[in-house]
């Protein structure tokens, strides 16, 4: 495929920078597929925020009380053909779902929401943080248009909330869990332990990243069929 490489940027609008570091680490893996820029590589912010791009990976949840952040997000949306919520905060709110506000110097920063609360998102890739390989896998799926994989992340972009609590409510309490153990190896904090073949959620360790839910075979099956959450 000759011609210009597709233009990719990564922007963090208020996360912990964990996803930004992950994206930086993916640069050697994706350099053959696209020309990527992040805050860590550019000399001027205009290189990130002024030009049109093919794909924008956006991390961090959006502070609904901060006009500037909302404007930045909308601006990125306008100039990107495809916008990807990269990481759990951007996809489902993540740990910022616990934010309350009330703190100086910005006590009004109360509500943090996933990107799809404010703009249209084509794909959501959860993880706290997603590993660098995920970026590479996505770029491969995108280039080759692997419909099954893309459809999966496209479906995820419709959700505004997923967590270990949802896993218990939707899958375990409904009797759908068959004890495959996928959730136990899908939790970055070790909040899920299988006890007598069923997941137990250690509530104080759940940071609402939603990774367990998207890896549960039963949960994903229902989501893909369009079961409303």
């Amino acid at each position: 495929m000759s011609g210009e490489k597709i233009k990719v940027i990564h922007v963090d609008i208020g996360g912990c920078e964990g996803c930004s570091v992950s994206f930086l680490r993916s640069l050697p893996l994706i350099s053959d597929k696209c020309a990527a820029k992040t805050l860590y590589t550019v000399d001027s912010i205009d290189e990130l925020l002024e030009n049109d791009v093919d794909i924008a990976f956006v991390s961090g949840s959006v502070c609904l009380n901060d006009e500037e952040t909302i404007e930045t997000l909308k601006s990125v949306r306008r100039r990107a053909k495809i916008l990807i919520a990269f990481g759990s905060c951007a996809s489902f709110g993540g740990v910022t779902r616990f934010s309350r506000g009330g703190q100086e110097p910005k006590p009004s920063h109360r509500t943090f929401a996933p990107l799809n609360q404010v703009v249209e998102v084509e794909y959501s890739i959860p993880g706290c943080p997603p590993p660098p390989q995920t970026v590479n896998s996505f770029m491969i799926a995108y280039q080759r248009q692997i419909v099954t994989q893309l459809a999966f992340f496209s479906k995820l972009s419709e959700f505004k909330k997923l967590s270990g609590f949802d896993l218990i409510d939707d899958i375990v309490l409904t009797g759908l869990c068959m004890g495959c153990g996928a959730c136990e190896v899908s939790c970055p904090t070790g909040a899920i332990k299988l006890i007598e073949r069923r997941p137990n959620l250690i509530v104080e360790k759940c940071i609402r990243c939603g990774t367990c839910y998207v890896r549960c075979p039963r949960a994903m099956q229902l989501l893909i069929r369009g079961v409303k959450k």
Binding site: P130, P131, Q149, A182, V185, L194
Partner: protein
């Protein structure tokens, strides 16, 4: 991440196969012993450092084993009927013992999960790069342990502690009891005691594997093998070339039967999924 267009998924070939090892065939009784043979072959040729399988501990209970030798693989052979959640144990063992390449033998849901992990890792602790081959087993569903045991007790007077082994032959479930007897349970009856979660699964033949294997009741001493990826196909062909197994393409009639079974599982899944819409 499954979108089943065909009941059997994507595949390169469907075969009827059998092990050439008399020992394995004798041990397996009801099956062609192909999975066991291929697992042994993989270890012998050093294509993997270990084979992950479930070994029966008692009755329908099982535990994960990481087999390094043929003997260990053979000991673990046989249908288990239950889902052992071995993912965490697998991950921990891979890390603690620094195992570079494993072959995993598992049920469709486990295979699908590992395939997803390989293609799209979502955690730094994912170990998909260490999984070399995925061998899927045909699966109609797994039992809810407690329910099955209490069903055996109430309908057949068999105490949970007395259940030694469970095999399937034709349309009967053979429950081997500790006093030496065998209780025959019609499969249709036993299927009522599958886990609800299993009833929603549309995947009979483990569509995400490299190689899938199972037994059709019409041919109890043979294994039906489906090769799906070039990796799986190559492995299968090498095993044949090295005379570890013998195989021929599955004939049309049996292939139709296989498709019908897979389709009926898909329909069952559809039916149960509707309840949740």
């Amino acid at each position: 991440m499954m979108f089943l267009k065909n009941p059997l998924g994507e595949y390169k070939g469907v075969y009827l196969a059998q092990t050439t090892s008399k020992e394995i065939l004798a041990r397996r009784e009801i099956s062609g012993g192909v999975v066991t043979s291929i697992a042994c072959y993989i270890l012998k040729k050093n294509f993997s450092d270990a084979v992950v399988a479930v070994k029966r501990t008692r009755g329908i209970e099982g535990t994960i084993i990481l087999a390094r030798t043929c003997e260990e693989v053979i000991e673990a052979a046989g249908s288990k009927w239950t889902l052992v959640p071995y993912m965490k144990a697998l991950r921990d063992t891979i890390i603690e013992e620094n195992i570079r390449r494993v072959t995993v033998i598992g049920l469709p849901c486990q295979i699908n999960f590992l395939r997803q992990m390989k293609e799209f890792p979502l955690l730094e602790t994912d170990f998909g790069d260490r999984v070399r081959f995925l061998i899927g087993l045909f699966c109609i569903g797994t039992f809810a342990h407690e329910v099955f045991k209490s069903f055996m007790r109430s309908m057949y007077g068999v105490k949970p502690s007395e259940i030694e082994d469970v095999k399937i032959l034709g349309d009967k479930l053979l429950v081997y009891v500790s006093d030496g007897g065998i209780v025959k349970v019609p499969v249709a009856e036993a299927l009522k005691y599958l886990q609800t979660g299993c009833l929603l699964c549309p995947d009979y033949t483990a569509v995400s594997s490299d190689i899938s294997a199972g037994v059709l009741p019409d041919m109890p001493h043979y294994t039906v093998v489906i090769t799906r990826t070039s990796v799986g196909q190559k492995l299968f062909e090498r095993a044949i070339a090295d005379n570890v197994i013998k195989a021929k393409p599955l004939d049309e009639k049996l292939l139709e039967k296989l498709k019908r079974r897979a389709l009926s599982k898909m329909h069952r899944a559809e039916k149960y999924a509707m309840q949740f819409m």
